[in-house]
Point group: C2
Chain length 326, copies 2
Amino acid sequence: MHILILGAAGMVGRKFLERLARDGHLGGKAVAKVTAHDVVAPAKPAGAAFAFEAHTGDIAQAGAAAALLTGAPDVILHLAAIVSGEAEADFDKGYRINLDGTRLLFEAIRAMPGYHPRVVFTSSIAVFGAPFPEAIGDEFFTTPLTSYGTQKAIGELLLADYSRRGIFDGVGIRLPTICVRPGAPNKAASGFFSNIIREPMSGKEAVLPVSDEVMHWHASPRSAVGFLVHAATMDTGPLGWRRNLTMPGLAATVGEQIEALRKVAGEKAVKLIRREPDETIIRIVAGWPRNFSAKRAESFGFKAEKSFEEIVRVHLEDELGGKLGV
Amino acid sequence: MHILILGAAGMVGRKFLERLARDGHLGGKAVAKVTAHDVVAPAKPAGAAFAFEAHTGDIAQAGAAAALLTGAPDVILHLAAIVSGEAEADFDKGYRINLDGTRLLFEAIRAMPGYHPRVVFTSSIAVFGAPFPEAIGDEFFTTPLTSYGTQKAIGELLLADYSRRGIFDGVGIRLPTICVRPGAPNKAASGFFSNIIREPMSGKEAVLPVSDEVMHWHASPRSAVGFLVHAATMDTGPLGWRRNLTMPGLAATVGEQIEALRKVAGEKAVKLIRREPDETIIRIVAGWPRNFSAKRAESFGFKAEKSFEEIVRVHLEDELGGKLGV
C-alpha cells in the first residue's frame, strides 16, 4: 500500500507517520511506501520499514498535485492548510492554499482515468459559527465566522461532490481542538487549553487567560491519529453522500481540565497555572463551538476520550514516557 | 441608482426588469441605469425610462466581471447559472460558470477599493439533499446531491465570507421552485408542476408524470421578483453574517395544485391533465425537498403566497391578462 500525506510535517501528520512506522500496516495492509509533502521537508519516522519520499513545495502551483500522485497512491491524507489566524490575516494566501490547493488536488485525481483512491480531508469545527445550540448536532448548518472555516466548509462540499461523482472515495473529518498539543507554547488563541496541562506537567508555569467556566471541545493527538486511520480504512458505503463528519470529542470546562491535572499531577502542578485574564482571547474564545453531539461519527466507529483525565494520561504516556516533571 | 443584472435574459431576470421599468425605482431610489448581462442579449423592457446597456459573454473569462462593474453599480443581482441538469451533465462547465464565475465576480468587486455594493445571489433549495426532516428548518445542513447544488452552496459560503470581510454587502436567497413558469413546456424534471396549471388554463393538454400525493415547494414568479427587490433594498444589519436565507414558499401536493386549478379554471381545465406515470421523473422528484420552515426570511420581511389558488390567480393576472383560454 502506498500512502500520500499532504501536510506531513505538522503535528498530526508527524504523529500519523510515527504510528505507521510502529504498525507497519494500515487497516491490515502492509505499507510499502509513503510520499510525504509539506512546505518544510517531512522527516522519515524512526523505525519505518517502508520506502519514504519527502517532497516540499506549494500545492497550489500548476502541476504540483499531479507530481505528488505519481505511482497512484491508494490513500491520500490531505492535512495541509493555512491555519485560521494566517488565513484571516492573508486573504489571498488562505484562499489560494485552502481552496485552490484542495481543488487542484481533487482535479489532479480526476485527471487520472480509472484511479479511485481513498481521500481523507481534515476539516475543522471552524466550519460552524456562533450562535450555537447547547450541543451542535450532526445536521447543524455551516456558517463559519472565519475565512479558514469558509475554506474548510467549501473543501467539504467539494469532497462530497467529487465522491458522489465517482472521482474518489472521500471522508471529511472535523477535528476537535487537539489537546494536549506537544511542543512549545504557541501563540494561537487556543494555545492555553494545552499550555495549562503540558507546562505544569513539566514543572513550568502556564498562563490561563480565560475563566474556569469556559467550555471547549477536545481530543488527544492519539485520538486524532485514530480518526485518520479509521477514516482511511473504514467502509464508506454506509456514509452515503454525507461524507463529512464531526469527530467525537470531549466537552470540558477549564475547571474540569484543572481538576484532571490535579488528579494526575497533583496540587504542585496546578499551582503553576497563573490566572491572567486577556480580553482579546476571552472575546475570541466566546465565539467558538463548545460542545457537540457527534453521534453519526460514533455510529461509524470513530472513538475519542471519555474524560479529560484520560486526555491528560495520554499526554503522560505518549509524550513524557510516563514520568511527571513536577 | 445603477443596477447590474447577471443572467438578465432568464425568466426571473426578465420579470425583474419588467418590474423595474414599471416602478421606475428600487426601494424608493430612481433607477438611472441598468447594465444587463447574459449569454444571449437581454432585451430592454418596454416602457423603461432608465438607460439600458446589454452585454453578452462568458462571465468566467478573464476581465469579464471587471468590465461589467464599469460605473460601479450600486446593486448587483447575480442570477446567472448553468442549471442543474446541465451542470450534472457537464462537470467542467458547471464548476467554471457557477463556482469560478461567481468567485471572479466577487474578486472583481474586491479589486475596486472603496467600492461596497449590495450583492444579491440567487441560490437554490438544491443546496439540500435527502433524507430530509418533515420541514427543513433554517439551520439544516447543506448536503447537496447535485454538482449544481454544491456550486450554489459554495457560492453562499463565499458570499457570506466576502460580506463579513467588508468587501460587499451580500444577501443569498434560496428560491423555491417557481410556479407557474410562463412560456412553453420545458424538459426540466420539475416542468410538470407548472405545465399542469399553465397548459390547461390555455385549453391545452398537460402530462402529469407523478402521483397526486407528491408534495413540492412553490412560489410565483411575482414572489420571486419580490424576493429580489426586498433582498436588494433591505437593511442587512439584522442578518449578521448569516447571509443566506431560504425564501418563504408554499408546500402543496399535486392534488392541491389540481384542486386550485379546478377552483380558478373549472372542471374542463382539470380534464386536460393526462396522467402518464414516468418512473425516471418519479425517482428524481422523490429526492427533492418538499417542505420548509422559512421563519428567518419571513422575520426579515420576505413574503410569498399562502395558498396554491393565489399562485394560480397570479398566473391568470400576470400572464393571461385575467382571461382563461379554456
